[in-house]
Symmetry: D2
Subunit: 336 residues, 4 copies
Amino acid sequence: MKVGIIGAGRIGKVHIKNISLFVPEMDIKTVADPFMNDATAAYCTQYGITNTTKDAEDILNDSEIEAIIICSSTDTHSKYIIEGAKAGKHVFCEKPVDYDLAKVHEAIDTAKEAGVKLQIGFCRRFDHNHKGVYDAVRAGKVGDVQLVRISSRDPEPPSIDYVKVSGGIFYDMMIHDFDMARYLAGSEVEEVYAKGAVLVDPAIGEAGDVDTAVVTLKFANGAIGVIDNSRQAVYGYDQRVEVFGSKGVAYNQNDTPNTVVISDAECTKSENTYSVMWDRYTQAFVSEMQAFAQAVANDTETPVCGIDGLYPVLMAAAATKSCKEGRPVKISEIEG
Amino acid sequence: MKVGIIGAGRIGKVHIKNISLFVPEMDIKTVADPFMNDATAAYCTQYGITNTTKDAEDILNDSEIEAIIICSSTDTHSKYIIEGAKAGKHVFCEKPVDYDLAKVHEAIDTAKEAGVKLQIGFCRRFDHNHKGVYDAVRAGKVGDVQLVRISSRDPEPPSIDYVKVSGGIFYDMMIHDFDMARYLAGSEVEEVYAKGAVLVDPAIGEAGDVDTAVVTLKFANGAIGVIDNSRQAVYGYDQRVEVFGSKGVAYNQNDTPNTVVISDAECTKSENTYSVMWDRYTQAFVSEMQAFAQAVANDTETPVCGIDGLYPVLMAAAATKSCKEGRPVKISEIEG
Amino acid sequence: MKVGIIGAGRIGKVHIKNISLFVPEMDIKTVADPFMNDATAAYCTQYGITNTTKDAEDILNDSEIEAIIICSSTDTHSKYIIEGAKAGKHVFCEKPVDYDLAKVHEAIDTAKEAGVKLQIGFCRRFDHNHKGVYDAVRAGKVGDVQLVRISSRDPEPPSIDYVKVSGGIFYDMMIHDFDMARYLAGSEVEEVYAKGAVLVDPAIGEAGDVDTAVVTLKFANGAIGVIDNSRQAVYGYDQRVEVFGSKGVAYNQNDTPNTVVISDAECTKSENTYSVMWDRYTQAFVSEMQAFAQAVANDTETPVCGIDGLYPVLMAAAATKSCKEGRPVKISEIEG
Amino acid sequence: MKVGIIGAGRIGKVHIKNISLFVPEMDIKTVADPFMNDATAAYCTQYGITNTTKDAEDILNDSEIEAIIICSSTDTHSKYIIEGAKAGKHVFCEKPVDYDLAKVHEAIDTAKEAGVKLQIGFCRRFDHNHKGVYDAVRAGKVGDVQLVRISSRDPEPPSIDYVKVSGGIFYDMMIHDFDMARYLAGSEVEEVYAKGAVLVDPAIGEAGDVDTAVVTLKFANGAIGVIDNSRQAVYGYDQRVEVFGSKGVAYNQNDTPNTVVISDAECTKSENTYSVMWDRYTQAFVSEMQAFAQAVANDTETPVCGIDGLYPVLMAAAATKSCKEGRPVKISEIEG
């Protein structure tokens, strides 16, 4: 299956490498990036890809290309999904689909009408630790889900320039956790209450965002969820989930570079979690692309479909509104 | 120092035993309980206490008794605090002081005017694991506090009869966590948002209460707190706290009866946490009484003073109101 | 049951306290110590014991005393067991019974002939973590025992004066592990190979002892055991056991003062194990005495009987010989 | 750098894959295997290797090939090392070099005279957990090394046919631990005492081998080592090391497929370690080959040189002799 990569920034390069090394079903024919340069082209060559371009249309118009991987800036996601779908290509798109709900709907609908696969890049679902909790929950190990608890903390905040265009912590960072919450609870969220604070860097507040947030979720199945986010965990990339239910609890811990324990006269020491997302989710990025390749190859539903791209955006919108207005906000207020 | 015990139910018996065995500064002269019977008297005799009565006044009127330990039903707490204080006796009182804020204030004020020590039975402050996190936070190990996260789940719900008179989950169960939150954050709570659900037993809902709850707290110092409670954790008495800040994170894990790990062909197994509060907090009950004895003996402030009895009640009132009205409630709304 | 304590040094004081507080079946009538002084008498008074003496005969000749607790120096153990047994008293004796095998046999035989209970102070059998492994093994959780692995390391070496009279590391320190090995394996040791080294303090070598040792054991049931000892673990009192078998493995970890985990920019930190034996085995000392009291009260076999006092001494003799001669030594060479 | 692979069995295939995907410095030109067939050729093609042969000489005589990877049967290792070295090729050879010490010496000497790199396949040195302990030890975190403790247990025994030609547990299985012991201790072994038993399968004993073994090592620097091996750990591939010294202890734990913890009404459960070597040491196999490529590319010493191939064989010989003769055996007895 010939594929085209649209966007060769950081995440694009990761997908290029992973597809080349670990997804034998796929063959990258073309990589497009408006800022394509010698360095990026050399990166592609390293993986046997000689066809690079600045124009995504070269991919969209190439009838040999069966699937596209959209890694471009967020504001172009829905456009490329729609164009790709209309061209009959299967689509893998990085999250979020769009901040504009109408565009999200249009993108999903177009893919559906075109009968192409659409997978959204919520890579954490493919992480061994998060999937381990999910599998335990779905296997009934915790019984009926009553509480979902997620901690998600980045090692350091992005630049203020990025914060300004990020859409805010709920769209940019917690969106992963919104996806994880639905995934773990096995139920849609009906109401969101968000409490935010500026505790890491006043400049983030000046940019109109918060850097610390706690969100309470009410699921349709009655369960309650809670997510905490911080833009800065000095000890590393901290991502843990817990699902509590009528028969027990399942939770995970962070991965560490090794399992070494050292006890000296002072205390007992072990390694911190990874400080870089790419190290923490190395395997998840590979697995999500393998899953997409298999969904296309076998003509099965993708494991993170269009609707999975929509709901986290709804939740982010509700959380943003809740945080500003100081009251719980129903998803139905947003959806309307 | 001669002391009198008012109330010889379960918690009263624990204090009788602990004072007898582990608090050499105190000598229990009299135990009063309106339901005093042969069995309870025999329990007292076992610890060398021969003076038992049905009338708490026998203690309150005994000028030889310097301190009283109030373990009677909640509705009598403030009355005995006031009477004891007026009689010049130091007072240790089980939590909560009262559900009626006016009575709480009166009790605290009376003790203050009388110049007697008043300690409230928030025993968890004395638990080695919770105190370990507190000590780390106060020593600056996590820097400025940004998030406080508390899980508190009981092994099984109380009887429906008890639920009906308990004051509700926020007054009866989460009040310990409200105390813990203030203690760990080192700051007062300004606003509370509570989300409750009936997921364990519909009869709890019929009794007007919830059995599962998540509460978001906003502290005066800007930090955010989150508490989750469930009336039924089938794996045992689950009590964990976490404090996250600018320099790191400190959290604890539950105690287990032993550290044995067994790996067989199926999986790796270890012991669950204790399933009974008295096993989990054995040492904490001893330590709080030793602390009270020392505060009296050395004429120092008690480690859980009157105001520490007041705030959790304010928070419980706000949480109850928030849960009912579906909106965040400021403590100032309650206090007014 | 009236009991007498012979020897009021450190371990004697621990037994005095534990019996007074936690063993209601026993009532300490008399404490004897050749160095009895005001401080020791005051310690006894604190627990309600007014009868103190320098002469152990005051206990041995007191017909009211039913059981004796021997906490005197090792060279007097067998003598007091024999005299006590002949006087019809039940005997709890600290380990080891004696370095002289003939005396050990005589002591055991005398107790047997007198029909009195004899319990040896191998307190670790009563430790929750070690007992947890034992219970798992006896319950068949690991199947047939194939390997027994024990690490036992003291926080710091004893004084050189003590080393000189200690009988050597195998009699003084590893004797506990010899007992534990038999207890866990459920089989007697047939052969011992000991390798020792002087790595902690040359003065220990000059005193004719080693401070670091690894011993391989061959059990009658075919299993192999291995014990390592060091006189100095700077991180605390390190005691762990592991039993490996046909169906799995069971092992334990050290206890720590609390379960707090702190992650900061440097690494993840937790508490070291206890640095003091009395803190690590607080509960085990209580439990062994409760078990002795119950064995006497119910006329059942003591959980650590005379033969359990004999075998570790045989193993220590074999290990000492093996370490000196540089070859494996059979227990039958020692027993003969 | 063009390389040739000699031997395309299980380990050969792993190296083919790893070099192709993760070692950009190397380009596999030819794969030789006396049993080369369509399936193996297809495996090679998958990684872009079209040149396959049944004759290793095609590689040894190919002047374009700079380095060879020897993955053939043990009896051919030394022969290919010698031929490869004489042909001026750098050599990576799977362990063990040979069971015949004269051949080991000849192989090492020939490589040295030829001035080619020689690296032996002790992959565990490259494992993140074992390397983590090594790094801590070398960084002085445990001070002077006093004890080295290694547990190494396979999930299930090999076939009896294999056992018969394996050279025995010490050459076949514990040889990895002998390497690890030297690596961790930073000192050579002077004396070995081995105790073996047949506890897993009597057929192993009938084949003249043992399936369970404990070996005590005496290092030149005074430290003591202890290794335990079992051919069958039903809970998985169990590999842990511990180094104890004057300033502390460093140890590691097994990797698990995920970090999920489940607590239910019964107990607390987590994943067992991997049950397959290739899963446990996935990353180590990659890292050792990257290290070899870099040693060749940068003309630096290989991280596991010829002498590192020799010593474990000496130790295996001494252990085999010790186990048979029931006495400690000095390495000097073997070397002579």
